[in-house]
């Protein structure tokens, strides 16, 4: 199970990607990761209504893959649910994450 976070828009318009694969986590941490993903309920809840139009707003795409794509959700900094923000902070704190800039 792999989570991919893309953050773009913003004043730069540069897209930063963060990936975290549950397979590379120690089993107890993988369980926490799964719990955080479930708590964010992204699979159940659809994209919030588009709130584009805010200049330089941060745009988010969060995707979860298992054997195939499970879901892909889109948010802005305005519409990012608090539980998803918590999940992102958790992912950003994992040393196993892979970060890159998309060109």
């Amino acid at each position: 199970m792999k989570l991919t976070v893309r953050r773009g828009g913003g004043i730069a318009g540069i897209v930063a990607r963060t990936e975290l694969d549950a397979n590379v986590l120690p089993p107890p941490d993988a369980a926490v990761f799964t719990a955080e993903i479930n708590r964010a309920r992204m699979r159940e809840l659809p994209d919030p209504p588009a709130t584009s139009g805010r200049p330089d707003a941060q745009l988010y795409e969060i995707s979860l893959e298992e054997t195939g794509l499970l879901f892909s959700r889109h948010y802005t900094d305005d519409s990012l649910p608090e539980d998803v923000r918590t999940l992102l902070a958790w992912v950003d704190g994992r040393p196993e994450r892979i970060e890159s800039i998309e060109q």
């Binding site: 773009g8 828009g9 913003g10 004043i11 730069a12 318009g13 139009g53 330089d56 941060q58 950003d92």
Partner: protein, 359 residues
């Protein structure tokens, strides 16, 4: 409680409940809540709270309650303390005319807002973003390792940067970035350019144009002397030197996709995918950016004297939310003739011809 609110009781209702009603209530609840907020002694002492509500709700609270929400106050800087959106603006750190704070980010936001305010007042005779002295509110230290600065429709918001895209502390360091963000407020109050595809790229470009001009004005540089970079020295060095180059679009950082000519226009959908950037607003802004650079250098001298005034009059008087590149171009050509001369008009027309917007 709701019924009571309509009977102007409210003295004991907590401010956060009132604020919620002011946003979510029906029209009567909103009015009652706003009046209660305004007359509460505790809140009255923090008029910035009212100012924020005023801007968020697009109400004129000052008019409703008979005093000025922002009396003779140009700008205030707050510390969000990394707490994010629910805590905007944050803790008040420095108001207009007050001595520097301990915090460098606070002082940088203060100085950048002040320079932008003075540029609009002294060069363009505009009294703040709305033309009526609106207070410039900034919050620094927004969120955790937040890699962005933005205009939220009510105020300026600056993250600390993560060291991944922006240098830590980089987002408040560049006056052109601060002026870029504040100019989004001017555009919102005037042309209202929709932040999508060509109108969005124009919106971006006007922010870069006046961002660069505020920097040039504060450095007293001529068009020939200016570096025409936006956000120089704030990206992590491995990414590049700046966010954008108006003189050489597409060369500011590794992966800079900005075109400088319509032949290279990048047609992207506006679909909330971060990779598509609201339909390429930060990408295709390279084209009008380059046109401005060409016009300003052809007109010579200080870019704010002629080119800046032409672009400003165009933005504030001749555009509408769905203006596309060619319409904006024609408007600048017409304004150049009205404000200056046929020579100026030719210089502006040639600039748009060179980037392929006019033919």
């Amino acid at each position: 409680m709701l019924a009571n609110l309509q009977n102007h009781c409210c003295g004991i209702a907590p401010p956060d409940l009132l604020a919620r009603l002011a946003i979510e209530g029906d029209i009567h609840q909103r009015e009652a809540a706003v009046r209660a907020l305004a007359t509460s002694a505790a809140i009255r002492s923090q008029r910035a709270v009212l100012g924020h509500l005023d801007r968020q709700l697009n109400l004129n609270i000052g008019k409703m309650i008979g005093f000025s929400v922002t009396p003779d106050r140009r700008l205030t800087v707050y510390d969000n303390q990394k707490k994010g959106r629910p805590f905007l603006p944050g803790v008040r750190m420095r108001g207009w005319g007050e001595p520097p704070a301990e915090d460098q980010a606070v002082n940088q936001a203060y100085d950048g807002s002040s320079a932008t305010y003075e540029f609009y007042r002294d060069v363009l005779q505009r009294n703040s973003l709305d033309g009526s002295g609106m207070e410039l509110v900034s919050s620094v230290h927004y969120g955790v390792a937040f890699d962005n600065a933005f205009w939220d429709g009510a105020q300026m918001v600056y993250g600390d940067g993560s060291g991944r895209i922006f240098q830590i502390g980089g987002l408040t360091r560049a006056v052109d970035v601060i002026a870029h963000e504040l100019t989004h407020g001017v555009t919102e109050q005037t042309a209202g350019l929709v932040y999508s595809k060509q109108s969005g790229a124009l919106n971006e470009s006007f922010s870069d144009v006046f961002g660069s001009l505020v920097k040039q004005y504060s450095l007293k540089q001529t068009a020939a002397e200016a570096d025409w970079l936006i956000g120089a020295g704030i990206l992590v060095p491995q990414l590049g030197a700046a966010l954008r180059s108006m003189s050489k679009p597409g060369t500011a950082y590794t992966g800079d996709r900005q075109p400088g000519h319509m032949d290279d226009y990048v047609d992207l959908p506006d679909n909330n995918d971060p990779r598509n950037d609201n339909g390429g607003v930060h990408i295709n802004s390279g084209i009008p950016n380059h046109a401005f650079y060409l016009a300003a250098t052809a007109l010579g001298g200080s870019a704010w004297e002629k080119a800046g005034k032409i672009w400003y009059t165009t933005l504030t008087k001749h555009l509408h939310p769905n203006t596309q590149f060619s319409e904006a171009a024609l408007a600048t050509v017409a304004v150049a003739g009205e404000l200056f001369s046929s020579t100026a008009q030719t210089a502006v027309r040639n600039a748009w011809l060179e980037v392929g917007v006019l033919s």
